[in-house]
Subunit: 133 residues, 2 copies
DNA sequence: GTACCTGCAAAGCTTTTGCAACTGG
DNA sequence: CCAGTTGCAAAAGCTTTGCAGGTAC
């Protein structure tokens, strides 16, 4: 069973959360570190990393890493979608044709010049599905 | 203008490409290194990295790094989409409601148990659009 | 009081780079 | 030939971890 942890709302944790909620961009850890250091000049980068981890476990924030931390390489140069197994991190091609309509739909809603999109499905693969073991 | 380069099809490059085309998974650089080393025991990991870079420039393969190399953190815990600027790497929320139908459409087509998806739009932001400078 | 947290420094990993030797076209 | 490439080793990032001291509750 998962280890129980009683998290404390330390000053550092509170300020990291406040600063992250304050911006609408999606900063990297080092950017958050810079933001927070204006209010806590002696905070360490390790504390920022540890708190971002805890806060995303608590579902207060989201950690974004769609394709995982490591780069992956794909022998198929054409654009296509993928499906990832959340258990074993296996990444397959998704048997799904391109949704060309998506870009058209978002164009009137954004100030960006939209030139494409990426779509990834998340799931559990055959081998990781308990009922089929 | 972009520097012109005359790429050579060296044995190492050819074998890396062959091995990558051979698999339907999307291996990481270190996995490709292991695959290639069975045929070229003395190849170096640096060569693998350099060739993956060249091959993706040549559009022979794709480098997958949807959210970029670095992790990013999002103060909004609810699921939502993003839009990335390919020039400055800025990442904003996408003003686009969730496409709940996608998962339903892929379920009959895959052996994975689908539990979600991630969608990212790619574009050029306001500040990077030349015509509005 | 004590489990959790912090800052610092060191370690860990993946990826990139400098360099001298080598090679494909 | 010689620009492009390779292997090796070292460097460069980003992220995690060990540890001793500090703190929230």
């Amino acid at each position: 069973m998962p280890k129980k942890q009683n998290h404390r709302m330390t000053n550092q944790r509170k300020i990291i959360l406040e600063e992250l909620k304050k911006v609408k961009t999606h900063p990297r850890a080092d950017e958050i570190y810079k933001m927070v250091r204006k209010r806590l000049p002696h905070i360490s980068l390790a504390t920022v990393y540890r708190n971002l981890e805890v806060l995303s476990e608590l579902k207060e924030i989201q950690k974004l890493e769609s394709f995982g931390t490591l780069k992956r390489f794909d022998g198929t140069p054409e654009n296509h979608y993928h499906i990832r197994c959340i258990k074993c991190d296996r990444l397959d091609d998704a048997p799904f044709s391109l949704e060309t309509g998506l870009e058209k739909k978002i164009r009137p809603l954004t100030s960006f010049t939209v030139i494409g999109h990426r779509l990834e499905f998340i799931g559990i693969c055959n081998e990781c599905t308990p009922s089929r073991k």
